[in-house]
């Protein structure tokens, strides 16, 4: 059927480009055989190009499913590939029916580059100037080696020398010899083909490789969902370049070789049941891909965490694995696991493929644990159980986040078995009480890590949902009544405990402390959330029930007849109840306030507030204060002295009232020469200061408590001056006051400034002499009065002697004059 030809007939050109060149032929009469030589000859003749232009198969002729033979043919110039110049050749019965593509006419292009590949790469990297490249992270390098099965594979860019026709991406004409590099950077996250001029290092064109598009997927377990995919060569594959450093899902093809794992392609990005719900269980791929996307979204949206390491860690799913081919210690494929790098999901032996949303999230949860708690710690004992419990929690919360219609607290039901019940562990033979019934003690399952994790699972359930749907009693006989704080806050607490506090040797008692600490960090030291975390641990038998949180009950200290008390900061939906002591009555109440009344006086009462089982209380005073019971202070006072009196706290008193021996004056500053007692104001507290005066008045000191309802009973204290003016009473004489014993003579003040007052006991005749300290007489008086004022304002400072003679008796007092 081979025929020679020149130009095709005009009616065989189905399409021309802007320049008028044919880009699509539909052959009617022209016969071109389906081999490379014929097609090459046709193209050269048709476009009149010289032998420097050649063609090679990119894909040889092969039959498609409706009987056409198709091939892809690439243009070269002097042996160098011409980028984007690719032809689709379609043949039937050995002859081309159609040929489409773009031929680039090139003349006299030197294909010897001035720059080496490495020089061109360095020039590209200078232009890109990324903070971090993919090949700089050894983990990525390991992954590409594993994924490709090539120990030399690397993300380090290799340059291909190609010819780039500028019209293919711009309005400019001309062809350029370029190096083409695939450069993948992590910060910023981008991957592009960079075309670098092979002669001067200029960036000619950059073409995004990381493309994404939204597809629809008919998942196996979760119905129709939207997924992100990657377009490639007109097809789509399960690679999500929009989340972190990417999510990629590979098909293990019911085998055990990671290097043989393949992409799954779709032609229209509608991944439907007809195509994938088949005997090979290919729709499992869609579940794993979608579930990993949902897991990523959950950590980002709910915990502001970028993938499992907060650095966008790439999530790789290996789906439909025959686990027994991975290693002999898998006895079947009813399992899934995280291995430190990637997730592997068994295709199922007795059960369905292990790719349900909660199982995928569980496995990625192990990644979160490793990246934040302990990298590479063997999973064993209580620590291993905590690891499993955390994964079950993330399984449940991510399932709720993405598919709230599912059974949130049961793990794995879609694969054909309920693996764990967080709400009722005992229903599956798992413990709900630490070291209680079903607690695993043997070394099987690494110490029962998939059994004893139910303690953590159930703790979380109680914290989030409360105990209403449980029996409210644990194996220790502890009764509990928990009001849940909701999934969102419960998850915040455990996420913080896991990523901030948990250590590589933590046990349940540690985790209890860490979750309470995390709740206090997030919601406050006395928060209900912290209380409920504590209470929920008590309910599962970890730690004591000594959990409390104090709410402040605001309102008057004293109630005379009735008062209203309020509480603020109650969590939404909290269960609240009020109660009072028998000397109070509740008139009315709401969750935020209570009005109480009383007919009592002089006693205390208490209002109790129960919020989700945590009791707060407020002691208040009912009616008038109690009677004052004690006065502390001297009963015998010095004359002219400052004294202090105080009383003990009087129940219900908001202030105090004092009385002194009558008559007394109320002053703010003492008159230190006054005759009367003086009370220094303010005098409404438990302690007062008084001046005893010179009048030597004895009487009662009194005090009583006061409040808004009235006065309480008074307490009295009888107070007198020293008998006959004798010294030694209470109080320090403020201004020198000489109380001369048996003579009954009082001299004051001492020291004196301007006058010395002398008071005698009667009006007898007396001779009074005033000497300086050298014995020189300064003043001399004879008096029949009972008082005498001695003027000292004009005599110098110093020590003087006052001599009083009466009835043959002489007394002498030392006097200080100080101006």
């Amino acid at each position: 059927m081979f025929s020679l030809f020149g130009q095709v007939r005009e009616n065989e050109i189905a399409l021309k480009n802007k320049s008028g060149n044919a880009v699509h032929f539909k052959f009617k009469e022209t016969k071109v055989t389906n081999n490379l030589e014929s097609v090459s000859t046709f193209l050269k003749t048709q476009f009149n190009v010289q032998d420097e232009t050649s063609f090679r198969f990119k894909k040889k002729f092969g039959k498609d499913n409706i009987g056409f033979e198709t091939a892809k043919i690439q243009q070269y110039y002097k042996g160098v590939k011409v980028e984007f110049s690719l032809f689709n050749a379609i043949a039937k019965e050995g002859v081309l029916t159609s040929l489409n593509g773009r031929l680039v006419k090139i003349a006299n292009l030197n294909i010897k580059p001035k720059l080496s590949e490495e020089e061109a790469l360095q020039s590209a990297l200078r232009t890109i100037n990324a903070e971090e490249y993919k090949w700089e992270d050894q983990r990525n390098e390991n992954i590409i080696k594993s994924v490709t099965g090539d120990p030399n594979a690397s993300y380090y860019p290799k340059g291909d020398l190609v010819i780039l026709d500028k019209t293919s991406f711009s309005d400019e004409d001309g062809v350029v010899l370029v190096y083409k590099f695939d450069i993948y950077s992590i910060i910023p996250f981008q991957r592009k083909y960079y075309y670098i001029d092979a002669n001067n290092g200029e960036l000619i064109f950059a073409n995004d490789i990381l493309k994404h598009t939204n597809g629809t997927a008919a998942t196996r377990y979760s119905g129709q969902r939207n997924i992100e995919t990657e377009p490639i060569n007109g097809l789509f594959r399960l690679r999500d370049n929009t989340r972190g450093n990417g999510i990629q899902t590979f098909d293990m093809n019911n085998g055990g070789s990671y290097s043989n794992a393949t992409d799954m392609f779709d032609n229209d990005n509608d991944w439907n049941n007809t195509e994938y719900n088949n005997i090979n269980k290919l729709n499992s791929m869609l579940d794993a891909h979608w579930a990993a996307e949902m897991t990523y979204d959950y950590f980002l949206n709910e915990h502001d965490f970028n993938s499992i390491d907060n650095l966008g860690f790439s999530l790789f799913n290996y789906v439909n694995a025959d686990l027994t081919q991975i290693s002999t210690f898998f006895s079947d494929s009813d399992n899934a696991f995280w291995d430190g790098d990637v997730m592997t999901y068994g295709i199922g032996t007795n059960l369905n493929p292990f790719v349900s949303l909660d199982i995928v999230a569980h496995e990625i949860g192990h990644g979160l644990f490793e990246k934040n708690v302990c990298n590479g710690c063997p999973s064993f004992g209580e620590f291993g159980a905590i690891n499993e419990g955390l994964s079950d929690i993330w399984g449940s919360m991510i399932e709720f986040h993405a598919a709230p219609e599912k059974n949130t607290y049961s793990l794995g039901e879609e694969v054909g078995i309920v693996i764990r019940s967080m709400s009722n562990p005992k229903s599956l033979g798992d413990p709900d009480t630490y070291q209680g019934e079903f607690w695993w003690t043997s070394t099987a399952d690494n110490g029962g890590i998939h059994t004893n994790n139910s303690i953590l699972n159930h703790w979380f359930y109680l914290l989030a949902e409360g105990s209403a749907n449980t029996d409210g009693i644990n194996d220790n006989g502890d009764v509990f009544n928990i009001q849940g704080i909701g999934k969102v806050n419960a998850a915040k607490i455990i996420f913080r405990a896991e990523t901030t506090y948990l250590l590589s040797n933590s046990d349940y008692l540690d985790l209890r402390a860490f979750t309470i600490q995390a709740a206090e960090d997030l919601f406050g030291v006395n928060s209900l959330e912290a209380f409920t975390a504590c209470q929920s641990w008590f309910a599962v038998g970890v730690g004591d029930g000594n959990c409390s949180v104090e709410f402040e009950i605001a309102g008057n200290e004293v109630v005379c007849t009735s008062n209203t008390y309020t509480v603020t900061g109650l969590p939404p939906g909290a269960s609240v109840s009020w109660s009072v002591t028998p000397n109070l009555q509740i008139v009315s109440s709401t969750s935020g306030s209570v009005t109480v009344s009383t007919s009592s006086n002089g006693q205390s009462g208490t209002i109790f507030l129960n919020v989700n089982g945590s009791i707060s209380q407020r002691d208040i005073w009912l009616g008038r204060p109690a009677s004052a019971s004690k006065i502390f202070g001297p009963t015998l006072v010095n004359t002219g002295a400052i004294v202090q009196y105080s009383t003990g706290t009087v129940g219900g008193a908001t202030s105090y009232e004092w009385r002194l021996p009558y008559p007394y004056d109320e002053v703010t500053t003492f008159d230190l020469f006054g005759q009367n007692w003086q009370l220094q104001l303010p005098a409404n507290d438990q302690q007062i200061r008084a001046f005893t005066g010179y009048g030597q008045v004895s009487g009662l000191v009194q005090v009583w408590g006061k409040n808004a309802c009235g006065n309480g009973g008074a307490k009295l204290l009888s107070v007198s001056h020293g008998t006959g003016g004798e010294p030694g009473g209470g109080g320090i004489p403020f201004n020198g006051f000489t109380n001369n014993g048996g003579s009954g003579t009082t001299i004051y003040p001492n020291p004196a400034n301007d006058q010395i007052h002398v008071v005698f006991k009667d009006k007898s005749r007396r001779n009074i002499k005033f000497f300086n300290f050298q014995g020189i007489l300064i003043k001399n008086y004879t008096s029949k009065s009972n008082t005498l004022d001695i003027e000292v304002s004009s005599i110098p400072n110093g020590i003087y002697l006052l001599e009083i003679n009466q009835a043959g008796e002489k007394i002498t007092e030392k006097i200080i004059v100080q101006h």
Partner: protein
Amino acid sequence: MKTKTLITFLILIAFFGCSSDDVNLPDCFQNFIDFVNDRPPHGATIDKVIYKEKILFAFNSGLPDVPVAYEDEKCQNFCSSGGLLGETNCPDDFFENLVFVEIVWTDPR
């Protein structure tokens, strides 16, 4: 990686008492160690144990959802325990009668 593999071999040679020109490891040992070496370290171990006079080897990868396999000297699986399901197909009295003999291999990384 080559060095690590060599160390592994030497340990096992010593254990089996083989001569230096006879390094035929039982398949399950090499299979297990390959599995472990392909992944980040998790404290994997192989323990020699005895259950009712039967010598077994416990292959423990340390990975959270990977079961511990008990296999005999001919790599016949005797039973397994663990995995995401937390199931064990070992005899009821297996773990209470299991006698630890020695650690045969630990991941040296």
